[in-house]
């Protein structure tokens, strides 16, 4: 069946099966493999994307349910040429180890900062509570989100 949606600002029309998950659409049909699958059951957060300004586990959303939606994935945040302040902060603060959880972690962070540019440590932890990281012990991830908030506030960098 045909659906159309906006992914990272670009309109896309696709033919999907009813059972196609949003995650499969993003990874297989659109080739945006920055979004990862770690458990397939909404328990790890590696597949987190922003859909209509909400964080979702894209493994638990049908592609059909994203019909007409606006989706943002890690690829839509920033690239080599211009990193998003969150991406920059994750690198600087040493928040990246194996990196498999990081795209999802950054998307949850992005949503968090969209809503609250002055998050407390507790706000950050609550905002990222759906994203499991097995490497870092999360400490530097919390630091990175704080740093990104600071960069956005003080440096005039945009959180888009």
């Amino acid at each position: 069946m045909k659906i159309s949606l906006t992914v990272n600002g670009e309109k896309r029309a696709l033919d999907v099966k009813p059972e196609t998950r949003l995650l499969d659409l993003i990874r297989d049909d659109l080739g945006l493999t920055g979004t990862k699958e770690g458990c397939g059951k909404g328990e790890c957060g590696a597949c987190t994307v922003i859909m209509n300004n909400k964080v979702v586990a894209s493994c638990l959303v049908l592609a059909a349910q994203a019909d007409g939606a606006e989706i943002k994935t890690i690829e839509g945040l920033g690239g080599k040429d211009k990193l998003h302040p969150l991406q920059q902060a994750f690198i600087e603060k040493g928040a990246v180890q194996c990196g498999f959880c990081i795209p999802g972690m950054i998307m949850s962070s992005k949503k968090l900062l969209d809503e609250n540019i002055n998050p407390s440590e507790e706000d950050i932890k609550r905002g990222l509570s759906g994203n499991i990281c097995r490497c870092t012990g999360y400490v530097k991830i919390v630091d990175a989100v704080k740093e990104a908030a600071h960069k956005i506030k003080s440096g005039g960098e945009e959180n888009v």
Partner: protein
């Protein structure tokens, strides 16, 4: 002397690719016209495979082929240290745990592969499932591996059966009996640890491709040791090493779990068989059931102490649940034992360790490799003793702590880089620990 780049927080060289989503983990690669691979696994933890019928499964639309042991009867077993794990279970032989592979399903779509997997018919003759190593050690316990040579030494505890002991190691340093005689009191306890999954967020996954022009199978999959995985795959398939090429991708965590062969062998077979690119991605469930675990260790620890707080003797008995296949067990269990006293001076040490086959998911490498489990035992012992002595636990540790010149339970004399005492001083400083520490 100050260094320019060493000792500095140089940013991770691979971090940019990881924060932008550009880093390619195994399942992120994309090959034109690739096939999906799924594995049919054991249906019972300990059973003889009586019949394996893939005929109906092969009829499923989109199935390219289904490979079983019949198609490749000459494959050798694989394993990190001891080659005891079959690539595919042969009809008439045993499945030993739920991760054993029975068939490799190759299909045009994942859906076809899943449908076909459901249609494979398996008949088994059930055997006693041994989930507890204590049971596997009893003299009347059935044998899990009949064809494994006797790897035990001759120093087996006379009370236990031998048939499922994969390997034993021992320690004997100083005069342990005399050490216990010299003790003012003895503390004896049993500790138990659990099965743990390393749980890297990226499950095992990979692609393979057979290059007919030079007869080389290329595999893109994460491995903690490329050349060892290559060697294991090559020997299992009776190929020269050069015919198996493994290319590292970004690795989404490992913690010991990606030391063993996982997707590699089945992918290699499927790629050579179909001459098309093939992809296999484990589910979390499959990863947890079929790949290595941190060993549960049962540790009996007995420690002799003087009233002024010095250790006179230490004895341990360690039983490790190796699960169905050896993997790193021959090394893990005794490495735990070798660290049995922790970083403390003890002149007299005795230890016995046994790695025991069971029908559980096999134990393998995980961060700490046996010493993590052992530390739970020795540091509990130390804490119990300090409380019995009514002594500050930090002081008790400090006065027994290793220094230059100490010898380990293995009799290794430590000549340099023994900074344990400084770690005790610094950690207690950081924590504003009450109580003074002195020699």
């Amino acid at each position: 002397m100050s260094k320019k780049y060493v000792g500095k927080d140089v940013l991770k060289v691979d971090a940019q690719d990881k924060v932008t989503g550009e880093a390619q983990y195994p399942s992120d690669l994309k090959f034109e016209d690739y096939l999906h691979v799924k594995i049919k696994r054991a249906t019972y933890p300990h059973a003889i495979l009586r019949d394996l019928d893939v005929s109906k499964a092969k009829q499923v639309e989109g199935v390219v082929d289904i490979l079983t042991e019949k198609d490749y009867p000459d494959l050798n077993k694989f394993g990190l240290i001891i080659k005891d794990q079959p690539v595919l279970i042969k009809v008439g032989e045993k499945m030993r745990f739920m991760g054993d592979a029975l068939a490799i399903i190759i299909a045009e779509t994942e859906e076809a592969a899943l449908k076909a997997r459901d249609k494979i018919e398996v008949e088994v003759e059930k055997l006693e499932v041994m989930s507890n190593p204590q049971r596997a050690l009893e003299k009347d316990a059935p044998t899990i591996h009949n064809d494994i040579g006797d790897l035990c030494t001759n120093y087996i505890d006379p009370d236990v059966g031998k048939q499922n002991i994969l390997m034993d190691h021992h320690l004997e340093k100083g005069d342990v009996d005399k050490g216990f005689e010299e003790a003012d009191f003895i503390v004896e306890n049993e500790y138990q640890t659990q099965h743990i999954d390393q749980l890297p967020i990226q499950n095992e996954a990979g692609y393979a491709l057979y290059d007919e022009s030079n007869d080389v199978i290329k595999i893109w999959a994460a491995s903690q040791w490329l050349h060892d995985t290559q060697a294991d795959v090559a020997q299992a398939m009776n190929l020269p090493k050069e015919k198996v090429r493994i290319i590292q991708t970004a690795i989404g965590g490992a913690f010991g779990k990606k030391e063993d062969v996982s997707v590699h062998l089945h992918l290699a077979l499927a790629a050579r068989h179909t001459k098309r690119p093939v992809k296999l991605v484990y589910t979390r469930e499959e990863s947890m059931i079929s790949q290595s675990k941190r060993h549960p260790l049962t540790i009996k620890a007995k420690t002799g102490v003087t009233n002024d707080g010095y250790l006179t003797a230490w004895e341990v008995k360690v039983i490790g649940d190796a699960g169905a296949y050896a993997s790193s067990s021959p090394a893990v269990v005794h490495k735990g034992m070798y660290h049995c006293t922790g970083p403390y001076n003890v002149q007299n040490v005795r230890g016995d360790s046994y790695a025991v086959y069971t029908n559980n998911t096999y134990g393998g490498a995980m961060r700490g490799f046996g010493t993590t489990q052992m530390a739970f035992a020795y540091e509990s012992q130390i804490d119990i003793i300090a409380h019995k002595l009514d002594m500050d636990p930090a002081q008790f540790r400090y006065q027994n702590a290793y220094d230059i010149g100490s010898t380990t339970p293995n009799g290794q004399k430590l000549g340099k880089s023994v900074n344990l005492k400084r770690t005790i001083e610094s950690a207690t400083d950081l924590a504003q620990w009450e109580g003074e520490i002195s020699e």
